[in-house]
Structure formats: C-alpha cells, structure tokens
Amino acid sequence: DTAVSQTPKYLVTQMGNDKSIKCEQNLGHDTMYWYKQDSKKFLKIMFSYNNKELIINETVPNRFSPKSPDKAHLNLHINSLELGDSAVYFCASSPGYRSEKLFFGSGTQLSVL
C-alpha cells in the first residue's frame, strides 16, 4: 500500500481552468502538507494542516485553496490557472506538526498551457 498517494500524476490544462489534486495518507499521521517544486527543484511550502486545522499558510495566491475533510486527506483546489502555476506539487505527511519526518507522495506534474 502506498503511504502517501496523490492523484493525478500528470495534469495538463488550459489557462483559466479550475483543477483539483487529491492526497491521502494511510500512515495515521496528524499533519499534512502541500509543497510546490519549481523547475530549479526548490521545494516551497504552501500549506500545512494538523488534525484538519490550518497551521501554515504561506504567501500563496488565494486561487489556491486547500481542503482537509479528515486528517487522512488533504486536497488542493486551484482556480483560474495561470502559466506560472506549472510545477510539480507534492503532498506530504508527518507524525506531528514539527515537520521532523516528512513522507512525500510521488508528485503531480501540472502543466498549464
């Protein structure tokens, strides 16, 4: 069983569209994250949820909205996609909110045309 699974693996869409990426973890962790990795491979934290409560909300356009229906799921919805949103998005989880041991999904490659 995959510990942190995110879907889809690839997402190709037109500018202006709305899309969602789903993430689920079966590790029993309390904290989940969304990261964006740009073309230079830099990992930038976007959001973090601990037991469904938002604890990290970086400077991200409000077109990005995370939703955590329960502590095993953290989805990312993106409205009005722009060219600059093209990147690889990673979901991750950790046992606690101190980010001391992250488990990552395999990523979603988003391409906005």
Binding site: K41, L43, S99
Partner: protein, 112 residues
C-alpha cells in the same frame, strides 16, 4: 529567504569514487534532515540529526551535524549508480519549529 545553502549544486562522478556534499546556514537549527529524490518521485527521508557534532551512518552514507548546529555534511563512500539523485537538506529552524527550511539540493550523477 533562503537560509540553507547546498554545495556543490551539481556533481558527476564515476562509480567507486567518494564524495561529500555540504549544507550550510548562518542560522541554528534544532534538527536537520537529509532526503534523496529520484526523478518522478517525491523526496525520501534518509536521516535526521538533532545533536551538535552528531554522526550517523547509513551503509555507505555518513551524515554529520556541525557542532554549532548550523551546517551538515553527507559523505558517500564508493558511490554506486543507485546513489544517483537529488540530495536535499532541510532544517527545522530553532526560532520556528513548525516549518522546514529547504536547501536547493545537490544533483548527483554516478556514472558506471
């Protein structure tokens, strides 16, 4: 603000060689993690170091945390092609224990 610097940025070596990559900061970290990322996959945690001066070994990989907890190194002995990947360090900043600060990574290619 980029607080963690990794060097070298790129490294291409032959199988069997030894190498060291570095992770440096001007800030103190309460802990530091090393991850390896392979193409098309997410980063995978290799080790966490928490005590200044700590040395941890994982088979042919040796990790060291600086005495002042501002820097770390990863030494690989007799590199293998399977060691190829992006090596990322990430620190939990002593002043903000919720957010990981990431380096830009060292891209390692081990050639047969």
């Amino acid at each position: 603000t980029q607080l963690l610097e990794q060097s070298p940025q790129f490294l291409s070596i032959q199988e069997g060689e030894n190498l060291t990559v570095y992770c440096n900061s001007s800030s103190v970290f309460s802990s530091l993690q090393w991850y390896r990322q392979e193409p098309g996959e997410g980063p995978v945690l290799l080790v966490t170091v928490v005590t200044g001066g700590e040395v941890k070994k994982l088979k042919r990989l040796t990790f060291q945390f600086g005495d002042a907890r501002k820097d770390s190194s990863l030494h690989i002995t007799a590199a293998q092609t399977g060691d190829t990947g992006l090596y990322l360090c990430a620190g939990v900043y002593a002043g903000n224990n919720r957010k990981l600060i990431w380096g830009l990574g060292t891209s390692l290619a081990v050639n047969p």
